[in-house]
Symmetry: C2
Subunit: 195 residues, 2 copies
C-alpha cells in the first residue's frame, strides 16, 4: 500500500493525470489485479476504459489510510538512529511530526537535535500529556526498550513503533509495530545464498 503512494506521488510530480492499473502495477512491481482489488476495497475510484485519476486516487488512499492529517509523535532514544529519525524529512512531510525527543543519558539531556531539546525520559508523561501524542517511536538500545514503552503507556500513547531489536510487552489496547533493518539484510543474505 505504501508503494502505491510512493509511485502515485511520483506521477503527480510528473503531472501525469491518469494511470491504468496495468501501468501502475508495472511501476509497483505487482499484478494489475492486485491493484484493482486493493483499490476497489475502499470504493470505486477507477473509471472503466480510462483508469484512475492520480490526484483523486492519492487523496482517497490517504484518507483511507488515515494519513490525510498530522500525527503527533515522540521519540525515546537519541542515539544514531534516533538522530536520523529526528532529522528525517520524509516523516514530517508525510504528516508524522516528532514533537519531542527523550533520552535518559545526562550528557544528552539539554542538547539540541534538529530543533528539539532532548528531555529526560522520566519527564515523558508530564511533557507528553501537554499535547495529544498519538505515536511513540523507540530507538533506544534493546535493554531500554521496555522501559521506554512503559513510559509511553503511562502517558496514554496507544501506538508504538519499536526500532530496538527486541520484543516488548504492552497492554492489550496498545498497538506495537517492529522495525528491524537486520531482518532485511538477513533476507538478502538468504536470497543471495539460495540462487
Amino acid at each position: 500500500m505504501g508503494v502505491y503512494i510512493q509511485v502515485l506521488e511520483g506521477l503527480l510530480l510528473q503531472e501525469q493525470q491518469v494511470i491504468s492499473s496495468e501501468k501502475l502495477a508495472e511501476q509497483c512491481e505487482v499484478n494489475p489485479s492486485q491493484i484493482r482489488k486493493d483499490l476497489a476495497y475502499f470504493g470505486e475510484f477507477g473509471v472503466r476504459g480510462v483508469g484512475y485519476y492520480v490526484s483523486d486516487l492519492l487523496k482517497a488512499i490517504k484518507y483511507f489510510l488515515g494519513i490525510d492529517r498530522n500525527w503527533n509523535c515522540i521519540l525515546v532514544g537519541v542515539g544514531n538512529l534516533g538522530r536520523a529519525l529526528l532529522r528525517h524529512q520524509q516523516l514530517a512531510q508525510k504528516g508524522f511530526q516528532i514533537q519531542m525527543a527523550f533520552d535518559c543519558d545526562p550528557f544528552k539531556i539539554g542538547e539540541r537535535v534538529a530543533g528539539h531539546e532532548v528531555i529526560c525520559t522520566r519527564r515523558l508523561k508530564e511533557k507528553a500529556q501537554q499535547m495529544q501524542i498519538d505515536i511513540g517511536l523507540i530507538s533506544t538500545p534493546p535493554e531500554r526498550a521496555q522501559r521506554a514503552a512503559n513510559h509511553m503507556m503511562q502517558a496514554g500513547i496507544k501506538g508504538i513503533v519499536n526500532f530496538a531489536p527486541t520484543r516488548i510487552n504492552v497492554s492489550q489496547d496498545v498497538i506495537v509495530d517492529y522495525v528491524d533493518f537486520s531482518n532485511h539484510l538477513i533476507s538478502m543474505a538468504f536470497r543471495l545464498s539460495h540462487p
Copy 2:
C-alpha cells in the same frame, strides 16, 4: 524468521538450553504450529517430548539463512540515515560489515565516519572491486538512488538494500529489497484510525 533469531539469542543469554514450540511461539507472538512448520522445513531439529535445543537451533537457523558467515557491504549516501547505519552495532554483530562508505558531496568526501573515510561515489567500481562486495546499501535522497544502484551494478554487486523512498530499476540478476520507515508509520496510522 528474524524474530526467531532475536528471541533465541535472548534465551541463549539467559542460559536457557531448551525451549518448546509453545513457549517460543508465545515470545514470538505466533502460533506454535507455525514455528514447528517453519523449523521442520530445514530438517528435524526438535526432540519429541523435549523441545528444541536453543544453541543448536540457532546455529541451524543461521546456517540455513546464510548468516553463519560475514557479508561484505558498502554504503552509498552518508546523510543522517547513512551515518546511523555506519554506526549501527547490530549490523556488524550479525556479520554485515560495511566496508566502505561513498557519497558524491565534495564536502563529505574525505570525512571520517565510524572509522570509514567517505569516498567519492565515482570511485565505487574501482574501490569495490578490490574486495568481494556482496551487498550494497543505498541511503541517498530518492533522486540519487538510481545512480547509486547503477554504480553498484557496474561493480558487480548482486544484492541491493534500498533505504531511499523510491523504486529502482535493476538487471534481472540483481536482488533489491526496499526498506521504508514511513510505511511502518502509515500502517500504524491506519491501525490507530480503524480501532
